[in-house]
Symmetry: none
Subunit: 405 residues, 2 copies
Amino acid sequence: MDVDLDFLHELIMPALTKIVMIIMDGLGGLSMEPGGKTELETAFTPNLDALAGLSSLGMSLPAGPGITVESGPGHLAIFGYDPIQYRIGRGVLEAVGLDLDLGPNDVAARGNYCTVDAAGVVTDRRAGRIANDISRELSKLLTTKIEDVEFQVETVKEHRLAIVLRGPGLGSAVTSSDPQKNGLSPLEIHALQPDAEKTARLLNQFVERSGQVLAEYPLKGPANMVLVRGIDHYPDLPMFPQIFGLRAAAIAVYPTYRGIARLVGMQVLPVDGGSFADEFSALEKYWNDFDFFYLHIKNTDLAGEDGDFNRKVGIIEEVDGLIPRLLALAPDVIIFSGDHSTPAALKGHSWHPVPTLMYGKYVRADGIAEFGERACGRGSLGILQAKHIMPIALANALRLAKYSS
Amino acid sequence: MDVDLDFLHELIMPALTKIVMIIMDGLGGLSMEPGGKTELETAFTPNLDALAGLSSLGMSLPAGPGITVESGPGHLAIFGYDPIQYRIGRGVLEAVGLDLDLGPNDVAARGNYCTVDAAGVVTDRRAGRIANDISRELSKLLTTKIEDVEFQVETVKEHRLAIVLRGPGLGSAVTSSDPQKNGLSPLEIHALQPDAEKTARLLNQFVERSGQVLAEYPLKGPANMVLVRGIDHYPDLPMFPQIFGLRAAAIAVYPTYRGIARLVGMQVLPVDGGSFADEFSALEKYWNDFDFFYLHIKNTDLAGEDGDFNRKVGIIEEVDGLIPRLLALAPDVIIFSGDHSTPAALKGHSWHPVPTLMYGKYVRADGIAEFGERACGRGSLGILQAKHIMPIALANALRLAKYSS
């Protein structure tokens, strides 16, 4: 009984309704001690609580029970795509986030500046999170051409790199060089399919050359090697605006999320400034021009990754304070959720279901005036697959025709 | 968005955490009168209730809504296998449970001694549950060779038999001779595929010969015919320890469950004695040698099958008393559930979801300090497929890497 994108597309009807999807990255959390409250439960959120009272609540699973997701699959799921069927390599996400030109035959990789010791063992996978300006300077040195393939290296932020390979005959089915843990040596890259042998060979040469270049660099800083992973071509995804019949806009400050939105065909709006309030200002400014808005708040995830429970609570409270501006626009449907959980207690993404709120004139409201993990766990949306959020939102926006077989 | 075994396997990370899965066979129940309590709700279970308060609760469906399962599919599901995709014939379960040698070309069947009347109608499918010693004596008489195929007949317990066919050209796609009800005649066995015609023909001859041998047996007891069903080859299952990266041990007293555990590659531990406490002693004894323990309690199912509500309550209470010994070992993750429901009110297996508890440091505890059907029905695991219990347990044991596509 899988409701796939083709099936949904056949039911799409035009309408004048507007849908807003607010995604707080890593929203779901955990308590720091047994029996305690999560970050969201701790936060004072009078506006979200009042909205919850008029909404259906539930807990969403990004990619299935027990599965922890990266941002890519987490976002594909909330945009309505099956995150296991549709895949995007991390390299593509980084490259698209930076607005790098990525043609259909090009290959993109995610890079990390790292530190290796004399024996070649990785001692810091993030090279001490080196400063942006040094990272950018190094990236220029690493940009090169090997045989007939150009290697464009660009700093995303600190140690994070996007690497684009442009040239003929580049398959993307190759392994990663990243051992994923400190204390291990970088791995040799191998082709997983015959058409990717050239990619593997040249990436190994690129990594070797990078080590030599960085060793010679005058700073001799902590960054003395590059790890590459998430190697992929530009994905062949169905476009969100076409599938769902929505003029769709994305409001996001961080490059990766602007990139994901662009990959699925959303128009990425300029945000004047970097605060949450600035994102809400963009929503107001472009309100008349689109049917669907995706608004992304990154900082909850960063606070969770840092294990900073109180900072995450504060960010949630700050966003709660902006909810009246959202309501003043009178959207027909509001989705408030996250792309995954990032509990401060785990200092990383986790598998825990994500609190999800669906507001609209025609939702069957649960009458639970509280937005939190346990409250959403009692909600009428139940435990739902994140990819089912879009169909429910479309239905509530009266944008889905009756299925008559 | 099906999370299959290959997908899970790719995410497996090594860890030092330990998972214990306690399965009370047929745990789920029903009340004996409208509005009453189930066996589990009636039982005084202070230890399980306290553990429930620190756990996520839910109700698991072994093979889907409305589907009642035998032990085989019920166990495959809790071990993480889709019980509809992966199948094991009952004959194989019985043969493996007895540790019989079963090669890749051999075929195994489950047999029942039964009683037929002069007209050939089955009057008792279990031949009055004949005594074990008589059953074993009869089984020796039925062991034979027909054409080039050996028929090894072994008593499992009372009327229950394992029959292994060894010889060339034996397909296993054949129908059963068991009419499944008293008052009907045994059925002729038919091949469902051309390569199973020899198997069908020889099994029919075996059944006919068995009737003749039993009629001549001096006791002329109630066992005067054999019914055969569950005919199958040894299954080609992915191995549990390899898929999940777990050194896995099984603690079970009953042969069938030791057999199922062995079929999926678990190491079956010796249990010194047959009591529940003896099973917990085995858990303590081998604690340091494994990452995963499956501990099986049979008697709840037997009491349910007998329609003995109070006996089932007592068995649950006895196991509750052993929980402190489990907690003293400080497992990282505890799963407490059943392979299916066996309500005393139905005197048999049933389709009702099974109360399920998941304890661990990183579970989002529901704060429901009660372990019972209705309490679990309010839990945050919701109604979950039993095959999803393993991925959630692995996540909580920090044994699953992030999915990054």
